[in-house]
C-alpha cells in the first residue's frame, strides 16, 4: 500500500513559528525545533518549513533554525521561502534540508529549477505554485493567460500572492515538471486561510495531468477536507499549518479518520 502523505507546515519568521499557535504541553509553542519533534511523534509523514522573514537578519537565522530542526528529525524536511539561487539551495541542503521549495525564483529564473535538479537530483527540488482562479468575466486584463482549452483556469501568482504573472497554472506545472521538479506544492490563493476546504478542482486538474506528485495546500479546516482533497482532488499529499495548531486535530486523529474513510495512510 502506498500512503497519502500528511505534511504539517511551519511558517517561520525570524527563527520562530508564527500563525495561530494554541499548543499546550510545550515549553515554548513558537519554537520550530519543539514543534517539529511533536509533529514527528504524532506521525507526520514529512515536514515543510517556510521562511516568511522579510528582513535580511531574519533570513540569516534560517540556517540556524534548519540545523536545529533537522538535528533530531528522521523524516523528510523541505525548506522554502526566499530560495532564489543554486547557492541558496546548496546551503539549505548541506545544513539539513532534504528538499528545497522554490516559488517566485522559478518563475523569474526557470534555469534555477534545472540547476538544482542537475546538481542534487530531482527529488531535492519542490516547485511551489501559488494559483488563483480566473473569473470567467474578467476581461480587460491583457496579461491574464488565455489558454486554448475548456474549463476553469488558474493564474500563477508570485511574491506571496501579490503579483500576477500571466502564466496559466496547468501550463506552468507541465513546464516545471519538464525542467526537473520532483514534486509540486500547489497552493490555492482562493482557499488559503479560509479553513473552508482545499480547492479540489484546481488540485485534480494539475495532479491528474502530471506524472510527478502534487502536494495540495490551502484551506484545510476539518478532517473531511483532507478526505475530499485525496479522493476528489487526486492529491498525493496534503499540507496544512493552522489546523494542526489545535489539539482537536492532531495528526494521529486525522490519520485515524482518513483510514476509516478508506484513504490509505501510514499509521
Amino acid at each position: 500500500m502506498f500512503a497519502k502523505r500528511i505534511i504539517p507546515c511551519l511558517d517561520c519568521k525570524d527563527g520562530r513559528v508564527v500563525k495561530g499557535i494554541h499548543f499546550v504541553n510545550l515549553r515554548d509553542a513558537g519554537d520550530p525545533g519543539e514543534l517539529a519533534e511533536m509533529y514527528n511523534r504524532e506521525g507526520a509523514d514529512e515536514l515543510v518549513m517556510l521562511d516568511i522573514s522579510a528582513s535580511r537578519e531574519g533570513r540569516a537565522t534560517l540556517m540556524e533554525t534548519v540545523r536545529r530542526v533537522a538535528r533530531r528529525l528522521f523524516i523528510p524536511l523541505t525548506v522554502g521561502g526566499g530560495v532564489r539561487t543554486l547557492e541558496d539551495a546548496r546551503r539549505l541542503l548541506s545544513t539539513g534540508a532534504d528538499k528545497v521549495a522554490v516559488n517566485t525564483a522559478a518563475v523569474e529564473t526557470p534555469e534555477v529549477v534545472m540547476q538544482i535538479a542537475e546538481n542534487y537530483g530531482r527529488q531535492a527540488i519542490v516547485v511551489a505554485i501559488d494559483a488563483r482562479r480566473l473569473k470567467k468575466s474578467s476581461t480587460g486584463d491583457a496579461s491574464a493567460p488565455q489558454p486554448n482549452r475548456l474549463g476553469p483556469h488558474w493564474e500563477v501568482v508570485t511574491y506571496g500572492g501579490t503579483k500576477p504573472t500571466g502564466l496559466d497554472a496547468l501550463e506552468w506545472a507541465h513546464r516545471v515538471q519538464e525542467l526537473g521538479a520532483g514534486e509540486i506544492l500547489l497552493t490555492s490563493m482562493d482557499t488559503d486561510g479560509t479553513q473552508e476546504g482545499f480547492d479540489c478542482e484546481l488540485t485534480s486538474t494539475i495532479s491528474r495531468a502530471l506524472h510527478i506528485p502534487v502536494i495540495a495546500s490551502g484551506g484545510a479546516g476539518s478532517a473531511q477536507h483532507f478526505v475530499e482533497v485525496f479522493q476528489r482532488g487526486s492529491a498525493d499529499a496534503a499540507l496544512a499549518a493552522s489546523i494542526f495548531h489545535y489539539e482537536t486535530h492532531t495528526i494521529g486523529s486525522l490519520k485515524e479518520f482518513l483510514r476509516n474513510q478508506g484513504v490509505p495512510v501510514r499509521i
Binding site: 502523505r5 533530531r72 532534504d98 498525493d236
Partner: protein, 197 residues
Amino acid sequence: MIAVLDYGGGNVGSVLKAIEYLGKSAQKADQPADLGSAEKIIFPGQGHFGAMMKGLEERKLLSPLREAFAAGKPFLGICLGLQALYESSEEAPGVAGLGILPGSVARFQGIFKVPHIGWSQLELRSENQLFHGVPEGSFVYFCHSYYGPVRQEACAVTEYGQTFSAGIQKENLWAVQFHPEKSGEVGLRVLSNFLNI
C-alpha cells in the same frame, strides 16, 4: 569505525546524523584508504546512476570497495546504493554497475506517478537480522524512479505498480531501496540493526 561512502552525490549528512543519534560514530569516506580501515561501510546513493559510478571511479573507490566485499566487511547500500549492486541500469545505458547481483535496474512504467515519493509498505520475505524487530507491513520512505528487480537475495519487497526489491542480503552485503535515515522509528531500527551486526 563506520565509513559512510561519499562519491560526491549521496546524502551523506543525514546518514551521519542518524548514526550519531544512535550513539555510534561514523566518518565520511571519500578516499580509497578510508575504506580499507573501515569496520563497516554504508553507501548512501542519490541522483543519477551514471554520475554515481563515475564519482566512484574518479575517486578511485571502486577497487577498495571490491576488496572490502571480498574481505566480507559488512556493507549497507541505500537507495542508489542498492541499485549500484546490479550489473547495469536503464538510467545509464552502457555504464557497468558493481555486478554483485545479476540483472538490470529498470524504470517504473505504468499509471503510477514517477518518481515514487512517499511511504510504502515492506513485505518481509524471509527472516533477516536487518529487519529484526520490524513488523510486517511497516511503512518506510522511498524516493526513486528506478528499481531493482526481485531476485532470490531479496529479503523484503515492496509493491508500487510492480513488485521490486526493497531489501537485499547477499552474504555480508545488505542493501535497501528506501531511506532508513528518513523512515522514522522503523528506519532507525533498520540502521541500528545494521550497526549491531
